[in-house]
């Protein structure tokens, strides 16, 4: 069966982005970071990051824009490699938690009853455990490494979106248009997929952007605590190493890593605001 609905919302989104300088800035940051991450992942950029190119702790200069670290490795290359880690963490964690959160939230909200009870019990249990302890125990179980980070962040961060989606679904399923959809003979699947979900897409997309940046921050935090990535540089480990470096006046690895994180988190926050302005049907009517 053909999909009868085509709404070019992305056009409105692009228009909203392009009419404000700050949004253009945010979108460029995100695009550039994606590009850097892809290039780093495919080995086009920074594939020599672990090779010593100069003396230990060379300050930034024209030759080495961001200076070098304790082993004489380029901080710029490490930042680029760190971008790959950050962006992939953001992407996989956001995807995983959105999938879990949306599926559970929709099922709980739409079907109610025992399904709802189970889902609510599950997320109440998860929220009742302090997040950091949950993360720590999960990384202990899964071992260290990037995949462990994806999974442990993913399975802890779906709670917020699940709760949100459940509430929205409960709100929408009692709206008359859903009843009207039943009255023309739509199935449960059709009501959920074609009628209800498009009304809450904006929440999912906005949450994706928000979780993306929270995941980046969390990865930095976990790596800072020594639970993160082991054999690839991450902004978190760079900030962690700065604990001993800063006191000796070696400011550059810390500064650049923090700056990179600041920029990307800021950009995602700005974008999610624009997304909300574009997508929320309540605001769209203006």
């Amino acid at each position: 069966m053909q999909h009868p609905y085509k709404t070019p919302l992305w056009k409105i989104f692009l228009r909203n982005i392009l009419t404000s300088k700050i949004n253009i800035f945010a979108l460029s940051i995100v695009c550039i970071s994606c590009l850097i991450a892809l290039c780093a992942a495919t080995g086009i950029l920074a594939n020599q990051w672990d090779v010593s190119i100069s003396d230990s702790h060379t300050p930034p200069s024209l030759q080495h824009i961001c200076g070098t670290d304790i082993l004489g490795r380029s901080v710029l290359d490490k930042l680029i490699k760190g971008t790959e880690v950050a962006m992939s963490t953001g992407f996989f964690v956001a995807t995983l938690s959105i999938i879990i959160g949306v599926v559970l939230g929709v099922l709980a909200g739409y079907f109610g009853g025992i399904v709802d009870t189970c889902v609510v019990w599950l997320y109440s249990t998860i929220t009742s455990i302090p997040n950091i302890m949950l993360l720590l125990s999960l990384t202990f179980i899964l071992g260290k490494g990037i995949v462990a980070i994806y999974i442990s962040l993913g399975v802890t961060m779906w709670v917020g979106i699940c709760r949100l989606i459940r509430g929205e679904v409960i709100k929408h399923k009692n709206r008359e248009y859903i009843l009207a959809a039943s009255a023309i003979g739509a199935s449960h699947f059709r009501k959920l997929w074609y009628h209800l979900l498009p009304n809450i897409w904006h929440i999912i997309i906005i949450q994706f952007a928000l979780i993306f940046q929270v995941a980046i921050k969390s990865e930095v935090m976990l790596s800072y605590l020594g639970l993160g990535i082991q054999n690839s540089p991450s902004w978190g480990t760079m900030i962690d190493e700065a604990k001993t470096e800063l006191i000796r006046g070696i400011w550059w690895p810390f500064t650049f890593a923090t700056l990179a994180m600041f920029l990307i988190v800021l950009a995602f926050n700005l974008l999610s605001d624009t997304l909300r302005d574009t997508l929320d049907p309540k605001l769209k009517k203006k």
Partner: protein, 330 residues
């Protein structure tokens, strides 16, 4: 065409189980219009939803009764069989045109959906048909309008769109649950006219649910008056206005505002005293006894609930003391 027999629909509530529809029966011949009137909460919508089999499953259920549509008992139909029925053979329009359309899709999309669901039309065919349908319900420049979102349209326009959706597959029965309550009076009249014309054109039967006896007088062939989930009076339209049998019906008719300027100071609008009792406090015997000026001992439960009995020709009333009894003998 449609015949409902001894339908009982119950809901689980905190006060226990209530019979929102209590043992009602009626027939709807082909091409005719049945009005269902009653106060808010008397079970009109639940009756409609029962026929559509859209009673919310978590709290409600059709406890007993048969709904025979074209010789087929739809209470025993499978869920997928029922889906093929809804919007195709039996359609429904709702009270609130403002919220019955999905805010994120164009009206064209929403009309096409019914066609695609039931008639396996291609997108282009459905689009063409959608334009025709909008034309049929009297929306000007339909080629442009199909690209509009619901919030671009006024309430009357939206109700026309709802009608277009409901009639897209030329159903045999249209259930209209207070289709004009949310609209202002002039638009109301237009919508009713439209429905009447379309009814002739498509030869369909209509169940018109309303609490407005004026609408019933203009629109229906027969009326069923509901009170506390029961049908308490059922008769052809002219009879019910001329000789109401049940005191409740009489009260309803008396409370229709009439315009007689010369008498306005002597005649005050009459109202029925009291309110509909909550379902768990319905008295035994006649459920109207506490508000009835004619109530007597027999109404208070000793003789059970008054059954819906023939009080005059083709005129049924559930009252021990009908106001204008006329048996076959006289």
């Amino acid at each position: 065409m449609l015949s409902v027999k001894n339908l009982v629909t119950t809901f689980q509530t905190r006060q226990g189980s209530i019979k929102a529809v209590d043992n009602i029966s009626f027939d709807l011949p082909k091409g005719s219009t049945l009005g269902i009137v009653g106060e808010s909460g008397s079970g009109k919508s639940v009756t409609a939803l029962s026929i559509m089999r859209l009673i919310p499953k978590d709290t409600g259920k059709i406890l007993q009764g048969d709904i025979i549509f074209n010789g087929q008992n739809i209470t025993t139909l499978t869920e997928s069989g029922m889906r093929g029925m809804r919007g195709n053979k039996i359609s429904m329009i709702f009270q609130e045109p403002m919220t019955s359309l999905n805010p994120v899709f164009t009206v064209g999309n929403q009309i096409q959906e019914t066609l695609i669901l039931h008639q396996q039309l291609s997108l282009q065919q459905a689009q063409k048909k959608a334009i025709e349908l909008l034309q049929m319900v009297g929306i000007p420049s339909p080629e442009k309008r199909i690209k509009d979102y619901p919030h671009h349209l006024s309430g009357g326009m939206r109700q026309r769109v709802m009608i277009a959706i409901a009639l897209a597959c030329k159903p045999d029965i249209l259930i209209a649950d207070e289709p004009t309550t949310a609209l202002d009076v002039t638009i109301q009249a237009q919508i009713l006219d439209l429905l009447k014309n379309l009814q002739k054109e498509l030869a369909m039967s209509i169940i018109m649910i309303t609490h407005d006896l004026g609408v019933v007088a203009e629109f229906c062939d027969d009326v069923a008056v509901m009170y506390c989930g029961k049908i308490i009076e059922k008769a052809p339209i002219h009879q019910i206005f001329a000789q109401p049998q049940h005191p409740y019906t009489q009260g309803l008719i008396k409370s229709i505002p009439t315009f007689h300027p010369e008498k306005s100071h002597e005649q005050r609008l009459s109202t029925i005293p009291g309110t509909l009792p909550p379902f768990h406090e319905i008295p035994s015997g006649c459920s109207f006894q506490n508000r009835c000026q004619y109530a007597q001992e027999a109404c208070k439960g000793l003789q059970g609930t008054p059954p819906l009995a023939l009080a005059a020709q083709a005129h049924w009333a559930a009252c021990f003391y009908p106001l204008h009894p006329k048996t076959h003998q006289d």
